[in-house]
């Protein structure tokens, strides 16, 4: 990381005489403060302020600059993020500016009652007078500064490089900064603001663009792209392509060159533990546990059953004993005896006895049907019950006739029951027979048999399904709506459509022509068609369904791998998302086109929606804006183009800028683009050298000047860069 904060407190503040100026490079991204005449600023930090709340004490504190992020864990930074005093490149929040100056002077070691040194502060080109005067007011009133001078950072950088022979007296300073990019023409060593131009694009926009692109490309790793990290990525990997189109085409084709240029950031990733299939022992152990649990449950059920049987038997004995006692009791004493037992009559006791006997039988697991069968076994006896049936009506009295009718009814129901039973029995036999046949076939050729069975099952299943679908959705299902329901968007089936048609015609036919409805008998069929539930009365599917059930059970018997289709079907329609184990590649942030796409916005601000000229065009604009057009001067300017500022660190910017300027200049004009010695610190160094000169004090203004000369003077205030 090229920018390193230096925030150690300096101890030699008192060694400097009050005439030694303090030099401040107040950039939108970094604040640099130091002593005039020195080569490096003493204190450098990011130009931001945070006002978090201390987690334990709850007080709001002020933290200036960038610090070790591990120390910030004691603070609650969620309420307010880092704030800057800058709007674009102009200072507008002087409360924040004051915190920053406090911190800067504090770290410089100031300990007198006021800052008794002249101050040189950098500002942007054509800083609005509001910002200028507020800054002066702050410095004079709060810090007691004796005098101030304002200067432009890019100009100081150009002058510094001019002194070191990098650029000439006449030239262009191109300064892509943090929020803005300036081009300032220099004539005779002085900046000409008339010819100056500014595009509102800078390093901030590049980082932001990269951050946006990455978070759109990798939404899962959003939390990784903190501002600091993205800045680091930008500074480490971004470069400026000589020709964007051809460079992008390389990547599009997947050329080898592009592969080499692709950078990959591997996020921390731990491969998931591979799951081993359970061993034989494990399976056996699990089965044993299961078996044990089953055994326990069975035992519990058995114990419960036996206790119930016991209970019932006790009750039975009690009741029998009661009956016996009742027989021995004399007729007269029966009511008093019964009142003791809680029963009203002998019949009630007998009924209770009956009930207990039945439930005992049930508890012991004897089939309930036995009793019924027993009843039916004595058929001849029952036949005797219906003794009246065979006697002709005329031989019976009225009483007996009534009885006969009753008997007739009873007999028909009994016979019906028997017939049903018979049918059931026959069906059972049929099924048994079929199964036996199947068994024979199976034994003959098991594979063929299984195949046939599967085919049959499949065919039948489809048939049944088809019918179901028709019923639900009129054959127009699109596969994802098996559960059906005729919703608004669903199509109706043929029957439902017909019904709708009938209903609507019935409504709209009213009063049209002669009404002959009801003349023919068929007309009344209409109501039957209209009634809602006419579509599921056919018994057809039942047969198929029972056959399907039989086949399914048979298949389950024979084929252990068989799973009934309906279960499979629901699984398939539920669209189970297929899980792919995450791989190393999922935790890689690949920087390909982004490496040169992001800094390209310096040359094409259009890409991020800023409709202004890019870096190369700005040079042309700047030359055109100069008041005196003179070819010799223009050639001089283009042969000494200095590029400085934080965003000029991208590799390839010189060549690209040279090519860009060559395109807009007349053929054959001399063009030379040079990078500043240190694009970041040169502004401060130039300012430091400037403040160290003996003539510096002539360029400053004091508090008295400030209040006497007024705002208009301050507006026109401009330092002379050549002393």
């Amino acid at each position: 990381m090229p920018f390193v904060s230096r925030i150690q407190r300096q101890s030699d503040y008192s060694l400097f005489s009050p005439s030694t100026p303090i030099v401040i490079d107040n950039g939108a991204s970094y604040f640099r403060i130091g002593w005039a005449g020195e080569t490096d600023p003493r204190v450098v930090f990011r130009n931001i302020v945070q006002r978090p709340r201390h987690k334990t004490t709850g007080e709001t504190v002020t933290i200036v600059g960038d610090h070790d992020p591990t120390l910030l864990k004691y603070f609650d930074c969620t309420r307010s993020g880092p704030r800057s005093a800058f709007d674009s490149n102009v200072v507008y929040q002087f409360e924040i500016m004051e915190y920053i100056l406090d911190f800067g002077f504090d770290r410089l070691g100031a300990n007198d009652s006021q800052i008794d040194h002249p101050i040189l502060v950098t500002e942007c080109v054509c800083n609005p007078v509001h910002s200028r005067s507020k800054m002066a007011e702050l410095l004079f009133e709060t810090y007691g500064v004796p005098s101030i001078a304002y200067g432009v950072d890019a100009a100081f950088s150009y002058k510094y490089n001019q002194q070191h022979g990098v650029c000439a007296q006449d030239g262009l300073a191109i300064c892509p900064g943090f929020c803005t990019t300036h081009v300032i023409p220099f004539i005779d060593g002085e900046p000409v603001y008339k010819g100056c131009c500014r595009t509102n694009i800078g390093g901030f926009h590049i980082s932001d663009y990269l951050k946006q692109l990455l978070s759109l490309k990798y939404p899962h790793h959003l939390a990784r792209f903190t501002w600091e990290k993205v800045e680091d990525l930008k500074m480490e990997h971004c470069y400026i392509s000589q020709d964007y189109g051809s460079e992008a085409r390389l990547f599009q084709k997947g050329a080898k060159e592009a592969e080499e240029k692709t950078r990959c950031w591997q996020l921390p990733w731990i491969p998931p533990p591979t799951e081993e299939p359970p061993s034989e022992e494990e399976i056996a152990r699990k089965a044993a546990i299961k078996e044990k649990q089953g055994q326990r449950l069975r035992e519990m059920a058995e114990a419960k059953r036996s206790s119930r049987i016991n209970e019932l038997e006790n009750e039975l004995h009690g009741l029998e004993f009661l009956l016996k006692q009742l027989e021995q009791v004399e007729e007269v004493n029966i009511p008093s005896f019964l009142s003791e037992t809680g029963y009203v009559s002998k019949q009630e006791i007998e009924a209770a006895l009956m009930k207990v006997t039945q439930s005992l039988r049930k508890a012991k697991g004897e089939p309930k049907g036995e009793q019924a069968e027993m009843e039916e076994k004595n058929d001849p006896a029952i036949n005797e019950k219906f003794h009246l049936i065979n006697i002709p009506d005329n031989m019976l009295s009225a009483e007996q006739l009534k009885e006969k009718r009753k008997q007739l009814f009873l007999k028909s129901t009994t016979e019906g029951r028997q017939r049903a039973k018979q049918k059931r029995h026959e069906e059972e036999l049929e099924r048994e027979r079929k199964n036996q046949e199947d068994e024979v076939k199976r034994l003959e050729n098991p594979e063929l048999y299984l195949e046939q069975l599967h085919a049959k099952y499949k065919g039948l299943f489809e048939k049944v399904e088809q019918r179901k679908r028709l019923k639900i959705n009129g054959g127009h299902t699109n596969g994802n709506n098996v559960s059906g329901g005729v919703g608004r968007g669903e199509r109706l089936n043929a029957a439902q459509r017909e019904r709708m048609r009938l209903l609507t015609t019935a409504i709209f036919d009213r009063g049209k022509g002669e009404d002959t409805f009801g003349a023919r008998d068929e007309d009344w069929q209409l109501y039957k068609l209209m009634s809602k539930d006419n579509d599921d009365e056919d018994d057809g599917p039942d047969e198929d369904e029972s056959e399907l059930a039989r086949l399914s059970s048979r298949l389950q018997e024979v084929d252990p791998t068989f799973v009934p289709k309906s279960e499979v079907g629901t699984l398939q329609t539920a669209e189970v998302p297929r899980f792919r184990p995450l791989t190393k590649e999922d935790f890689q942030i690949v920087l390909g086109v982004e490496r040169f796409r992001c800094p390209e916005i310096l040359f094409r601000p259009n890409w991020i929606g800023i409709d202004q000229a890019g870096l190369d065009e700005m040079a042309g604009v700047s030359i055109r804006r100069l008041p005196s057009r003179d070819q010799e001067l223009e050639e001089k300017l283009t042969s000494s183009v200095l590029i400085t500022g934080g965003s000029s660190l991208f590799p390839g910017i010189n060549e690209r800028l040279e090519a860009g300027i060559r395109m807009i200049r007349p053929c054959g004009s001399p063009i030379k683009v040079v990078k500043a010695l240190d694009p970041i610190l040169d502004a401060w160094r130039g300012a430091s050298a400037y403040a160290a000169s003996s003539q510096f004090l002539t360029q400053t203004f004091s508090k008295a000047d400030y209040y006497e000369k007024g705002e208009d003077w301050l507006r026109g205030y401009q330092v002379q860069y050549t002393l």
Partner: protein
């Protein structure tokens, strides 16, 4: 405060010897104050640049004019040159593969891609 926080002098002290007016005197605690600063737009407006000669450089008139070069259209997603643009989403795309992706993007992402070049639909 934790010892390492104090040692690093992380927190700006409230009282500084070299200041004539302390922060707590300027902005007393518990006293509500409105916005005491102007945004850049308001500052520029208050500068009344229209009252000064137009050839005098000021913050507004030193801005660069719009670019005269034709704007190169690039694929919003991949960054390749984009010969096509999708009329439904307004996204520019490089080839059929990207187009598939464009059509599968949820609207939120489409808007975010558009917002990058300041072309998103802004509801006010």
């Amino acid at each position: 405060m934790e010892p390492e926080v104090i040692e690093a002098e992380l927190v700006l002290p409230t009282h500084l010897r070299f200041k004539r007016i302390q922060m707590y005197e300027k902005y007393p605690k518990g006293q509500s104050r409105g916005r005491h600063w102007k945004h850049l737009k308001q500052i520029i407006q208050a500068e009344n640049y229209q009252n000064y000669p137009p050839d005098e450089p000021n913050y507004v008139n030193i801005e660069s004019p719009p670019s005269m070069h034709p704007c190169k259209k690039i694929c919003d997603i991949t960054g390749y040159e984009a010969p096509y643009s999708d009329p439904r989403t307004n996204l520019r795309y490089a080839n059929a593969e990207v187009f598939k992706l464009v059509r599968s993007l949820p609207n939120e992402f489409v808007q975010r891609y558009l917002a990058q070049r300041n072309a998103a639909v802004v509801l006010k």
